[in-house]
């Protein structure tokens, strides 16, 4: 019985991972663009980026998902876009706003004098970003992105409510047949833990490595914990 359940739930978990992976890749692209916009020298461009980030960080994922699904579901279906595509689009719209804010803070950690130094060397904005800012910001972006991946995997359970057959929805269907909510939901929780716990361990290791490379090495356990917490607290979506 348990192995049969695990087989069914495993099928849903594959969809969870698919949705999360697609959302993560798209969110990284959108967030990178938004973060670059937010350090642009042109005010309207900065304004646009911050308006996007403020708006989409305020909207609950589920509210956007239900609105899009109820409002455009039929149209999208005619266009051949399945709930999975809608789910990825909705999740990306919101998660990219959170990620952009985190990337922006990584960019802003690079001090103003570096921008001035670059421009006094005659580098343009794009060249400064490419050759001076990005090489320094990228290592910090790795643990940020990993923590975001964890948040996305967790948030992807919400799209069970717009008919995407990921693990939470599959579990609900299984429960409708078996009337065993406690055991099945605990099994679902266990699968999430099995995926996310190793990810968060890896992300913690990388955080320490990156901090060391950037010369921000934590000298005491206290500093280490504080560093980790500040990154995690920022990465909490939803």
């Amino acid at each position: 019985m348990l192995s049969k359940w695990l087989g069914i739930l495993g099928g849903g978990f594959v969809v969870t991972i698919q949705v999360s992976a697609m959302t993560l890749v798209l969110s990284i692209l959108v967030a990178a663009l938004l973060a670059m916009m937010s350090v642009s020298p042109w005010r309207p461009v900065r304004g646009l980026a911050s308006a996007y980030v403020d708006t989409f960080r305020s909207i609950p994922i589920l509210a956007l998902a239900i609105s899009v699904y109820y409002g455009l579901g039929a149209t999208l279906h005619h266009l051949g876009i399945e709930p999975l595509g809608t789910a990825v689009a909705v999740l990306t719209a919101i998660e990219s706003a959170y990620l952009a804010e985190l990337y922006r803070s990584a960019l802003e950690a690079i001090r103003r004098p570096q921008w001035d130094a670059a421009s006094s060397l005659g580098l343009g904005w794009l060249a400064t970003v490419r050759h001076v800012i990005l090489p320094q910001a990228l290592p910090a972006a790795i643990p940020i992105t990993l923590n975001m991946a964890i948040a996305i995997i967790k948030d992807s359970s919400l799209v069970s409510l717009i008919a995407v057959s990921e693990i939470t929805l599959v579990a609900n269907q299984l429960i409708a047949e078996t009337f065993e909510p406690t055991r099945i939901y605990l099994l679902v929780a266990l699968l999430y833990v099995a995926l996310i716990l190793p990810l968060s361990q890896v992300s913690r290791r990388i955080e320490v490595l990156v901090a060391r490379r950037l010369g921000l090495q934590a000298r005491t356990d206290q500093e280490k914990t504080l560093q980790r917490l500040s990154i995690q607290a920022e990465a909490r979506a939803g």
Binding site: I61, L62, T168, E180, Y192, L229, R236
Partner: protein, 216 residues
Amino acid sequence: MDAVQSILPYILPGVLVTLEISVGAWVVSAALGLVLAVMRDTRKPLITLPASISVEVVRAVPQLVVLYIVFFGLGTLGINLDSLTAAIVGLGISDAVFTAEYYRAGFLTVAPKQRDAGLSLGLKPLQVARYVIIPQTIPFVVPPLLNSFVGLMKSATLASAVGAPEILYGGRNYMETTGHVAPAAVAIMGLYIIATVPLTRAVRSLEKRVQMRTRV
């Protein structure tokens, strides 16, 4: 104008329920988080270990799954919670594991010497926490706790999944009965933007003030 008038009866009662859920879950989270943090701070493996394990495990489980476990799972064990209570408890537990970490970070800002000093004055460990550590951590803990309230206001939409009549539940009812989606969508998301953008800004400036004060 008609749309606005027809939508209010669906959304307005939901606003109150959303507030009830977020305030309730916030209280659960702040209290349970403090308990977990104090447990992890005791340095006694028998007490720290269960706290650490539950923090690590619950942190990996989506809020929606925690909510389902509380609402449907506990039901089969004979503990029947109504949807509103289940939402408060479920979202509160889910959030508490993060709150616990904020407290812990706050505790770390107090030098270990002070704990030793308290103990050497004959205070019990819990008294040291109550009179020495916790009062000093308040400025560090308030901004993240306020952030977690903003997060819970958004998470309250999950309660619609177990039938608690919050904003999104009302909005969905409107969408289903009238067939008009856009007015409800605009009303819900607009309300969230109006409520959370200023709050988030306020918390950010509070955070900056705490940082400046402590850096001096």
